[in-house]
């Protein structure tokens, strides 16, 4: 059965604390920490972008899968921070992992669900028998306008999944997608920062689409919340995943292993995919795992995976996600962060 044959995560080392951002803008750090359940977020180094993190996460996925990269027939990169407006991230990724030249590649964009979109397409191509292996990456160096609420959460990270039919570590049992035109968050061409609808990003956006997607896939597969060992929801802040989990009838302990946002921030296209990598790091054979992404604009992709015995064999071939999140951190001040993120206007 088709499924995930390898997965990999990449989280940059720099971190900035909520207090450090709040003190610059005169905001109340404790209320952000309590209200959004955020403590710190990952920040890319100046020489890192969506492409470099995609390559590192894909290399980790390849180490776990142990396949010849030249047999990968499709490479998709989902992001809302592709370094070029015109020139594919996927081509550089495919070149760096030596999947070229017999490979189909495309860059995807759908706010925070571009990564799961790639997974959806990659899995479908493998299921259809069009390619032997397909790679999907969700990666972002998210933009948050200085002083905006998003600045406390917009983070950086990447997760990569290789799909194939032979020796899956997690079989894909079902997929479902839920999409409507909902203007909760957007960024127009040539704009540096996105805009959002404030509280409108909640009920009619995140909650409606995630519950619609999760209920749809459970109906389609005949499964109920108690059947799943773990569930991963998109994580724009710490609170939303737990609240939507409660609405759907999931317990905290099903959510917690893949809940990274308090220390990681919102990695946009990498958010729920990174949660899935952290969950696969600890899942046992036979476990059912539900992943539900969310992308503003708006839509949600969901997947039901069943973990196989092969997980034990491959998971320590590459660094685990929480080891990257908790180890070797470098805390930076707001000034350094502003420089790294090119928020300082310099002479031409």
């Amino acid at each position: 059965m088709a499924g995930i044959i390898g997965y990999g995560a990449y989280i940059p080392r720099n971190r900035i604390k909520v207090e450090e951002i709040a003190k610059v803008w005169g905001a109340d750090a404790p209320s952000y920490k309590k209200g959004l359940m955020l403590e710190e977020k990952a920040v890319p180094s100046p020489d890192q972008d969506t492409i470099t993190m995609s390559v590192e996460s894909a290399r980790n996925a390849l180490k776990r899968a142990g396949i010849d990269p030249r047999e990968i027939g499709a490479v998709y990169v989902g992001s809302e921070s592709h370094p070029y407006a015109v020139k594919p991230s996927g081509a550089t990724l495919a070149e760096a992992i030596n999947a070229v030249p017999a490979v189909h590649t495309a860059d995807l964009e759908f706010a925070c669900k571009a990564g799961s979109e790639g997974m959806f397409i990659a899995l479908s191509l493998v299921q259809a028998g069009a390619v032997k292996y397909a790679l999907a990456v969700g990666a972002d160096t998210s933009q948050g306008a200085p002083g905006d609420a998003l600045e406390y959460s917009a983070a950086a990270g990447a997760a990569a999944f290789l799909f194939g039919k032979e020796k899956p570590i997690a079989e894909a049992l079902e997929t479902f997608s839920f999409t409507t035109d909902t203007p909760d968050f957007w960024r127009r061409e040539y704009m540096h920062y996105p805009q959002h609808g404030g509280r409108f990003t909640g009920d009619p956006a995140y909650f409606k689409h995630i519950t619609g997607s999760a209920e749809g896939i459970m109906k389609k597969s005949g499964l109920k919340p108690a059947d799943f060992a773990y569930v991963i929801f998109h994580q724009p802040n710490g609170k939303f995943p737990f609240r939507v989990g409660e609405m759907l009838g999931f317990e905290k302990k099903q959510i917690e292993p893949g809940w990274l946002v308090n220390k990681l921030g919102n990695t946009y296209s990498g958010s729920s995919p990174l949660g899935l990598t952290a969950t696969l790091d600890i899942a046992a054979p036979g476990d059912l795992v539900l992943m539900v992404s969310y992308g503003s604009g708006a839509g949600s992709d969901s997947f039901v995976f069943r973990v196989t015995e092969r997980i034990e064999e491959v998971r320590d071939r590459a660094p685990r996600t929480r080891a990257q999140l908790d180890g070797n951190k470098n805390y930076i001040e707001y000034g350094v962060y502003a420089k790294y993120r090119r928020k300082i206007r310099k002479a031409e």
Binding site: S45, P46, D47, Q48, I51, T52, R59, E95, A96, K339
Partner: protein, 130 residues
């Protein structure tokens, strides 16, 4: 500054660390050469460089050339990779004051330079602490 064409020619080395191993004496050339500098043979097999190694020596750049000004101070060093090949590269994600000879490093894929805001971005390898 490099040209897009030059950077494109170097992709196998910059992205994938593709070297050539002399079929006669085993010497590894990075980048590949036509003639082995050790034994003069012209036959080579493919070799992919090891991804980790240790710092042999380094220097800290405090007065950087224009495109790298924003990064100073930064370290450039020579690492001896686990396959014995010595590789010169920038050492990043590390306070230069904390660098030590003998320290374990590994290769990561990074932006090496870019032609301003509108030009081509050049990618390649750098060293980071393991």
């Amino acid at each position: 500054m490099q040209s897009p064409a030059r950077s494109w020619r170097e992709i196998p080395q910059r992205y994938r660390l593709e070297a050539a191993k002399c079929a006669r004496c085993g010497f590894i050339c990075f980048p590949p050469r036509l003639i082995c500098p050790e034994c003069g043979a012209r036959e080579f097999g493919p070799h992919k460089l090891a991804e980790s190694g240790k710092v042999l020596t380094y220097t800290v750049i405090r007065v950087a050339p224009q495109p790298f000004c924003d990064q100073s101070p930064y370290a450039v060093g020579i690492a001896e990779l686990d396959d014995g090949v010595r590789l010169t590269a920038q050492i990043v994600d590390c306070d230069p004051a904390a660098l030590k000879v003998g320290m374990r490093v590994r290769i990561e894929f990074r932006k090496v330079s870019e032609e301003g805001e509108a030009g081509v971005i050049y990618y390649g390898y750098k060293l980071v602490p393991e």
